[in-house]
Symmetry: C2
Subunit: 167 residues, 2 copies
């Protein structure tokens, strides 16, 4: 994992613990790397509630509660899906904040989206948001960039930035 | 991740796809590394259903269905808990096989168990099993060894070894 991802994770762990906030993850293309990077930091058990690796849509629906009609309409790589995943992680794990990743790591396009398309979602009790990215690189590179982006967005959320609306 | 973990993951992905079997993970101390290592292999979407990062006991109970009375009686670092987590992952994600990790990554002992104590669980529709380990090393080292052990146990399961009873 890149230095920036580790640093963002360490800062997020510290800030969450200071504010007594808990975090849950929902990961598609990163498949556990966001949660694992948070857990690299000793003391992460003070804020990391848990997470869901939602690789297949059935898990996005069944465990995270993403509406099947949304997935049918827009596919799994979408801003609204990312926001719903983040909110679903928060609710499933009983956490204050949720952060999610969905995107195309490659090597092939998926759901009509090109390789490198990534959406990061964040959610709190007061709302959810999603951010879109277009990364370049190979499969591990895209997953690493998505992990770093998710940790940066989580950190922003913890430093108190407003949550923008889903675009 | 170690070469052996990556190789075990690649073999598990190939064997599962050949047999049209799906896999789900339930991870405590590894916090997503088992799922992420499987997903490193292109084509993993053909067998990886999803997984649960069950860092806190509330997630082991609420999402994976581990009995609260079991957790109260034995703590979270236990063979029966590992087996129940693997079965819970299988059921929550609708997969044929479940594999789980629970243990003490350190730096401090947990639930009365020394640092390095790890249990790996595996489950299919016909039963579940757990294996105990005592690893040495620092926090990242113990988590890496636990990840490799989980992937080896999953691979064994896929090559058709019998599932022993929970010890």
């Amino acid at each position: 994992m890149s230095r920036s991802a580790s640093e963002a994770a360490a800062s997020a762990v510290e800030l969450a613990i200071d504010q007594r906030l808990t975090v849950a993850t929902a990961e598609s293309l990163t498949a556990g790397l966001v949660a694992a990077t948070l857990a690299d930091t000793p003391g992460a058990s003070g804020m990391l509630q848990g997470g869901v690796v939602a690789y297949q849509n059935s898990v996005k629906e069944g465990v995270l509660g993403v509406p099947p009609e949304l997935l049918s309409a827009v596919g799994s790589v979408d801003a609204q899906v990312a926001a719903a995943m983040a909110d679903g992680a928060r609710l499933a794990c009983g956490a204050d904040l949720g952060v999610s990743t969905t995107g195309v790591a490659g090597p092939l396009p998926h759901d009509g989206k090109p390789v490198g398309t990534v959406f990061i979602g964040v959610a709190t009790a007061s709302g959810s948001a999603a951010y879109s990215y277009s990364f370049e690189g190979d499969r591990p590179g895209i997953r690493a960039q998505a992990t770093a982006a998710a940790l940066e967005r989580l950190l922003e959320c913890l430093v108190g930035s407003d949550l923008p609306h889903v675009k």
